[in-house]
């Protein structure tokens, strides 16, 4: 089947839904394509809040938020993006409220705000209440609210459609091809502009807070075209995932006063971040937890976790403001945070890197200002780069609404000015080949077994602490897994709802993301933000204050070419000099 829309949005999480709303306001025809029903998107799993300097609880300013974002990103954050963001997010949060989002409230009826890791007043003096929240289900409420507004606006959705290829020729995006799960049919979508907002790829790791569907599909498709992925070495491990399961436990628990404790009950964060303690940014807290575990002060049967202690908080705070994580602890661990210490361990959570974009969401094709005409990206999929080397808690939800909105506005503006581009001769060729290979392979390799090996080896070799030899080993492992992947056969021949075929395709996408990530991490010989090397333990601004651009070598399978892109060290009105990062 053939479709034609001015603007196509891929992904129906926060960024995609915001982009779709704003593109439609730009008076163009819009459709949104998603591999899930929109309300199943993983934006819904975000808990703790969306940071904005509203100042509803304590004095706050966008400049302080900008500073925290830049420092939190270990100065790899592009400061022009941080300035746009810190200003825009204030109006964006009010806009969400005007869309009906049921925020929790202060006693005087304003949007409630609480403390969160790395968010401070007066350029680092003390923690500040900046996270606007709806209990501990803020992401759920953002996803529901944005979907509701799209229902109101009459947005066209193609649900349970998997994008298999982007149609890019002569530096211009012309549309895409997608596979309809319910029929097994390929659809060609012709478009003036395409916005990619399909989320991250956390499933390359064994312990992750990410949904099974987060397999980096669009990042991989972009990368397969020889286009770059930016800063893939920067991957965030959230400090508090439920032990063994990796299910997210919001940083809001520490914002509300929860304390991390080791096996002797010590509040160990006092040693690592004396000023803001448990409210240090995530990279620092995750490393501190792993250090405690490595030095034998872990808890649990395998001594591979630490405890989060909420028992000193009033029951109504725990069951009210933290209802979601109370339910999770009770359901999965049989523990009650009102009276029990809850074991947690770091969990793979968020990709700082992704498809490089400018401030308007336009996708970049190199590190020298080249771009792909008509192609935009936003949200976790994209790297603008707001988060630099480490994202602050709450800034992902902020990123979705601010840069999802901008991508929608600018994609529509572009679409209004241009005619439909010509389509390639045979747009479905690559997609047909992809499925033919999977369906007709006589190989006996099991996709699930390869996936499991990928997840375990990535966790071990490219996890929180990294070193050259382990990552070199991982380069080889990924190459070997890719070779085995070529022998994966799909045994289910059916056309309708063939989820075995989809899972096999997704594994191919994950292997690409892992390849780009490992090569980028091995290449960067310093420690910065979430990228922490045991063999290069300090930040090296002289050589490494630059973004990585990883390109697939289209002539040599399994090889990655590394390029660079300068960091924007100035905002439009403010600039913060790189300084040692202490909390």
């Amino acid at each position: 089947m053939h479709h034609r829309y001015d603007v196509l949005v891929v992904g129906a999480g926060g960024a995609g839904l915001m982009a779709a709303l704003y593109a439609a306001k730009g008076n163009v025809s819009v459709a949104c394509i998603s591999k899930l029903y929109p309300t199943r998107s993983h934006t819904g799993a975000a808990q703790g809040g969306i940071g904005a300097a509203l100042g509803n609880v304590q004095e706050d300013h966008w400049e302080w938020h900008m500073f925290d974002t830049v420092k939190g990103g270990d100065y790899l954050t592009d400061q022009d993006a941080a300035e746009v963001f810190s200003k825009d997010i204030i109006d964006a949060v009010y806009e969400l409220e005007h869309m009906g989002l049921p925020f929790s409230r202060t006693p005087d009826g304003k949007i409630a705000q609480r403390k969160f890791g790395g968010h401070t007043r007066d350029f680092g003096k003390a923690a500040v209440e900046r996270s606007c929240y709806a209990k501990d289900r803020t992401g759920h409420m953002i996803l529901q609210t944005l979907y509701q507004q799209n229902v109101k606006a009459g947005t066209t959705f193609f649900n349970e459609f998997h994008v298999t290829d982007l149609l890019i020729e002569d530096g211009r995006c012309r549309g895409l091809v997608a596979y309809e799960l319910s029929t097994g049919e390929l659809h060609t979508f012709h478009a003036k502009a395409v916005i990619l907002a399909a989320g991250g790829y956390g499933r390359v790791f064994k312990i992750t807070s990410n949904a099974l569907t987060l397999t980096g599909d669009l990042m991989s498709i972009y990368y397969r075209k020889g286009l770059p992925l930016e800063d893939m070495e920067f991957y965030q491990f959230h400090p508090t995932g439920l032990a063994k399961l990796g299910i997210l436990v919001t940083e809001g628990i520490r914002g509300e006063g929860g304390i991390l404790r080791n096996d002797s009950g010590e509040r160990f964060m006092e040693r690592y971040a004396p000023t803001i303690k448990d409210l240090a940014p995530r990279d620092i807290v995750s490393r501190s937890i792993i250090t405690e575990i490595r030095e034998g002060r872990g808890v649990g049967r395998d001594k591979d976790a630490v405890n989060i202690d909420l028992t000193h908080l009033p029951r109504e705070v725990i069951e009210g403001k933290l209802a979601e994580i109370t339910d999770l602890a009770r359901t999965y661990l049989g523990m009650d945070p009102v009276k029990d210490l809850v074991p947690i361990q770091p969990t793979a959570h968020y990709a700082m890197g992704g498809i490089p974009t400018d401030l308007n969401g336009l996708c970049l094709s190199d590190g020298n200002g080249g771009s792909v005409e008509g192609l935009y990206a936003a949200g976790e999929q994209a790297c603008v780069s707001l988060h630099g080397a480490n994202r602050l808690g709450t800034n992902s939800l902020g990123d979705l609404v601010v840069f999802g909105r901008r991508a929608g506005i600018y994609a529509a503006q572009y679409a209004r000015q241009v005619e439909f581009p010509d389509m390639p001769e045979n747009p479905q060729r690559e997609s047909v080949d992809l499925f033919d290979r999977l369906r007709n392979s006589s190989g006996k390799d099991n996709a699930a077994a390869i996936r499991k090996e990928l997840q375990e080896s990535m966790m071990n070799n490219v996890g929180i602490f990294r070193n050259g030899p382990d990552m070199e080993k991982q380069v080889g492992i990924v190459q070997e897994l890719k070779a085995r992947y070529a022998n994966v056969g799909v045994s289910d021949p059916s056309r309708r709802y063939n989820s075995e075929l989809i899972e096999a395709m997704e594994l191919g996408f994950m292997l690409d993301c892992a390849e780009a990530m490992t090569a980028s991490a091995l290449n960067r010989t310093e420690s910065r933000g979430a990228h922490d090397r045991e063999d290069y333990t300090t930040r090296d601004d002289e050589n490494w204050l630059k973004h990585t651009m990883a390109y697939k070598d289209l002539n040599r399978e399994g090889q990655v070419q590394i390029g660079y892109k300068p960091v924007s060290l100035k905002g439009f009105t403010r600039a913060f000099e790189p300084k040692p990062r202490v909390y």
Binding site: L36, Y37, T39, R40, S41, H42, G44, A45, L54, Y94, E97, H98, M99, G100, P102, F103, S104, R105, T106, D108, G109, K110, A134, K135, H140, M141, Q144, T145, Q148, V151, K152, S182, K206, I207, A211, L212, T213, K244, L245, I247, L248, R301, D302, E324, L328, T331, Y332, A447, A448, A449, V490, S491, D492, S494, R495, R496, Y497, N498, S499, E500
Partner: protein, 254 residues
């Protein structure tokens, strides 16, 4: 038909964790080749703390690749994996093995009822979302917005605490005996969504929604069977919310 499989854990294991033996009986149906649904039993080994979804994933990944179901988040927030497990509607990712079976026991898994089965455990969700869309599930306030937020008290915000917690998984609607016999009934999930807006002090379309609730597909179809409340994986007191909507319809105001 019974299939057996060499024991492998469904989830990460540490050596000391005891494994238990299970029979998982799945109601399967592929309209491309089956005339009617049929049971297939799989012998698996699992930990008591595994999610039922871990076990079903294991069957798909290592035993029966064509087994079809929806899933995504794995922790009860996306609402994809509502199934009839041991005769009760639940989310497979929020149900632990130990809650439904002992070692040597059987877990039965069927698609949720009242919606057309497309393949195995996967049903057609369109009618469910059509009912959702019928209640105007979006905030309406056409008066000019203030520069900052609209003011709402903590108590007023708390009125939406239960209804806004819904994840649209359909556990409630597909456990409702009225819905089973009359698919035009909007069902508990849609009424919960209506409640979320009817009792939002900032919303201006209360009367329109009360009108929709008062139609013969609306709230009066409810016979307070309580199945919905028992089925809800988010512990929403659905029957109580439906009663509150009935009262609002009766008095013409929230």
């Amino acid at each position: 038909m019974t299939q057996t499989h060499a024991p492998t854990s469904a989830a990460p294991v540490s050596a000391s964790v005891p494994m238990i033996q299970l029979k998982v009986k799945v109601l399967r149906f592929d309209p491309e080749k089956d005339k009617k649904a049929h049971w297939t039993t799989y012998d698996v080994e699992a930990q008591a703390s595994d999610r039922v979804l871990d076990v079903i994933n294991h069957i798909k990944w290592y035993m029966e690749p064509s087994l079809t179901f929806r899933r995504s988040c794995m922790h009860g927030i996306c609402g994809s994996d509502a199934m009839l497990i041991n005769g009760r509607n639940r989310l497979a990712c929020k149900t632990l093995v130990r809650d439904v079976a002992k070692s040597g026991g059987t877990i039965t898994v069927e698609p949720i009822r009242g919606l057309k089965v497309e393949k195995d455990l996967l049903v057609d969700m369109e009618p469910f979302f059509d009912s959702y869309k019928a209640i105007m599930p979006y905030f309406i306030n056409e008066s000019p917005a203030p520069a900052a937020e609209r003011i709402q008290s903590e108590e007023e915000a708390e009125r939406m605490a239960h209804s806004s917690n819904c994840i649209l998984c359909a556990c409630c609607t597909t456990s409702c005996p009225i819905f089973w016999v009359n698919g035009s009934y909007l069902g508990p999930a849609a009424i919960v969504q209506a409640h979320r807006f009817i009792f939002d002090t900032r919303d201006e379309a209360t009367q329109q929604r009360l009108g929709i609730m008062n139609q013969n597909t609306g709230v009066w179809r409810c016979r307070t069977a309580y199945n919905c409340t028992e089925a809800c994986p988010r512990d929403i007191p659905i029957t109580q919310l439906i009663e509150e909507v009935k009262r609002a319809v009766m008095y013409g105001q929230a």
